[in-house]
């Protein structure tokens, strides 16, 4: 993995500067069923194609942001702050 990611704060950097935070996911409501919690915690959609992910600029500004990454090509057409995510791809809410 050597692709570049554009941190919304710092700009384009090697992916080695970042910590991968996984695909965005909706955390169930507190009264959700056990099955929903198990599904949330243990299962990933693992989309082959563009998907919304969390990334943390560990060796930079130490901030979390969202990226749309194509898991087939590692192309990252969009990165943005979580508060700017309305209307973007992915599933909107992150952890509930």
């Amino acid at each position: 993995m050597s692709f570049l990611l554009r941190c919304p704060n710092c700009g384009e950097r090697s992916v080695a500067d970042f910590r991968f935070g996984g695909e965005t996911n909706v955390r169930p409501a507190p009264d959700a069923s056990h099955a929903q919690w198990v599904d949330y915690y243990y299962f990933r959609k693992n989309v082959s194609g563009p998907r919304q992910e969390w990334w943390y600029h560990k060796f930079g500004c130490r901030r979390w942001f969202l990226a749309v990454r194509d898991s087939r090509t590692n192309e990252v057409p969009q990165t943005y702050w979580p508060e700017d995510r309305t209307g973007r791809g992915g599933d909107g809410a992150s952890q509930g």
Partner: protein
Amino acid sequence: MAEPDPRQTRLPPHPSQWTDPASPVSFTYNGKQVSALEGDTIGSALYSSGARIFSRSFKYHRPRGLMCMTGDCPNCLMSVDGVPNVRTCNTPVQQGMEVRTQNAWPSVEHDALSVMDKLDRLMPVGFYYKSLIRPRISWDMARPIIRRVAGLGKVGPEKDPDSEHQHHNLHSDVTIVGGGPAGLAAALEAGRGGSRVVLIDEGPVLGGHLLSDVSVHPELEEHAGLPGYQVAARLAQQVQEMSSIRVLSGATAFGLYPGNLLGVSQGKCLYKVRSRGIIVATGCREVPHLFPGNDLPGVYLGEALRRLMHLYGVVPAGRALVVASDHRGYRLAGELAQAGVQVVGIIDARESSPGGDTADSIPVFTDSSIAGASGLKGVKRALVLDKGTGETRSYACESIVITGTYEPNTGLLAQTSTALRYDPELQEIVPEDTPSGIYVAGDVTGLHNLELSLIQGKAAGCQASLGVDRPTGTELDALRRAIREKEQAYREALEPSSPSMAPSKEAGKTFVCLCEDVTPKDLYQAIDEGFDEMQTLKRYSTLSMGPCQGKMCLRPAIELCSRYTGRTMDETGSTTTRPPLRPLTLGTLAGPLHMPVKRTALHERHVQLGAAMADVGPWKRPHSYGPVSEEIAAVRERVGIIDVSTLGKIDVQGADAPALLDKVYTHRFSNLPVGRIRYSLLCSDNGSIIDDGTITRLSERHYFITTTTANVDLMEEWLKWWNAGAGGNVHVNNVTSGYGAINVAGPKARETLSKLTDVDLSPDAFRYMRSAEGEVAGVPCLFLRIGFVGETGWEMHFSAEYSEHMWDALMDAGSEFGIVPFGVEAQRVLRLAKKHIILGQDTDMVSNPLEADLPWVVRLDKDDFIGKHALEAVKERGPRETLVGFVMEEAVVPEDGVPVMHLGQPVGRVTSSRADPTTARGFGLAWVPADLSQEGAQITIQVRGRPSPARVVHQPFYDPEGARLRE
């Protein structure tokens, strides 16, 4: 062996040569002194001293000699100064080098293992997949023998004495791989346009194949009348003069990764080069022809002799036969003749010879092909087939020179999405479409014409520095037109050459893959067994899996497979090219051994006090300053002081800070009064513990958190992540290194501290789990009254730069009470007596707070928190195992980690254990099954292999009521 003077065996000096007759150097070869000249490679020097066998082959131990002189084939691998598998043909010689041959006994000249060559029937392709399976022991018996017989150099077990490996990052607008004519032209053009350029070249001198080209090129207007090597020198000179070009010579671009990242190794340096545009001008290489005996020493690729002759002034003695299919072979034959080699003839597969470049005195055999070579340790005779008559004739000669088959060096391109296709006109596998930002120029395009290469280079340099795929520059349009015209002319001038003969199944040993000793017979058999395309054929036969990684064999193998299966070259496919293109040492990849060490601001004080330092994660912490029991006694009876600066410290502020902490911690913090401290855990949503620590509320919207030493970065990420997801107004700052922290604890802690501060520390004014701000010895401090070690104490946090002042002031103030600094070990014993857990020591990845016996920290009455659902589920099902205290019934101390036994089976484990100083019995914490967890339960602990009785204790071992803490 009489040592020949290297100057006697050389050709007369010529300006193309790199060797300097005035500067002799010497090195040892298998312990014997060898003379060489400055400018030689190890290979050229050995060759000039008369060495012809350079190695023994992998499987059959056949003799192998110099063949490519370009670092592509595996034949010249030797051990140099203890480093195995060094390509000696392109490694510059250095005074005093120690060079040894590999994989032969007693010597490469007389290798007893060459008997393997006669045992080939026992080792057909893939024999280790089919034989040595039953009985099972046969593989165990055969394995050490196979490992000894097969293989390359040996890696010494000792550490690399000179492991000064470095990693560098380079950034450029344009990076050019290959310093041949196309690469040089590209660099000049890109540099002229103002781009920052990096030029990577494998050789010690820029120029590529032009360096060994002594013919003149009248077609080049700019360089008319100059021989190739002078054209190279001119271009190289211009490149050196351009300050925007950085040249990496003797450097190998071994990988092209996504994001236009090039991996480049140069000596002990690894460069990571990022560029907007990459121009691949890696040229081409010659590949061997397939005929029986094609691996014998004395069979050369044309470029090898060109380099030996023109760079190092060495030619093979005796007679030579040249296989040619175009003017380059004829020209080489002429050059050899001129250098005094008796050229027996030129073998040309074409029906008629164009003549031209060569002297009339050399006989030309047209419509002929090389059919075999024979000799024991080198070529003695060559067989030539007259394709017209079908007759085979034998010629005595010592050298067979193979020219005319080129393979573009597309290794880097194959690591990208570039389409590589077989061009039937060029009869080469060439790049078709390159992805955006990657350009090609020169021989790598399959067009071998100097004038064209220079224009291609110029166009690529122009295009890459424009930074767009469809540039509008009129100059570029003109260059592209010129390329189209010249390419068309080039293609029209190509003379159809009938493909070289495919060796029949019955012929003697022909080698497709020199590295792994794979013959056409092996490939045919593998194809018959169903491995009929390159990917599986490679894996089954080990073809292309040796040190040269297919550079010599892939092209002939694809051709062979395609012809045997009746499919096209493209249908036959190829193998997947992966980095590294050339073998790298592990040291290169590992780089410098950066092991970061963290020291607290009090490190010097600990050293001055003679502390034994221990590694705690990346930190250096005092294990102890003297006898641990005395440190423990001082804390219990008087006052102790410990540097706790390594604690993770996070400052959390903002309107949504209470909500964030309520969410991530198991305890509740929105209701924590200002000035109070609460201990809590954090869990993940599966209920397992991530971290613990204290949270102090400094104001309505401001908290100060301590975390475990090792987890602070993770906690920072964790808090920020949940806040980012919730979109809360919270600022999370990791202030670990900003604050120093010292804990003063013991019955005399209050008196010690009171001497230095105005803060009222009396029991009623400053109660347990409260905080305050104030000065100590003039330093602003945050006081936290907590009690990890079980005595009255304060943890002070302050700006790290005051650490030594604070320490000195406290030591001074405490001296009248007998203050003693204590280390990590004393702290561990003291906390264990209080049953305070250490995360990661007493818990692991799956421990949850309920089973870790900390239910009071978990507020299941909160609406939600991370891990709540999982912990409710745990509560519902009841605990399976529990973390309990234990005391041994005998005066024995279990070691940390030993099993808890029940009915002869391990059912739990001890996580922390120490000796009670008064009874000498062990006590500590252990995970036990739920049914053995009740107070007073009898358990058995394995102590040094012997079961020993112990009793479960729920209360802390020391001051169970916590009276001393609260005093």
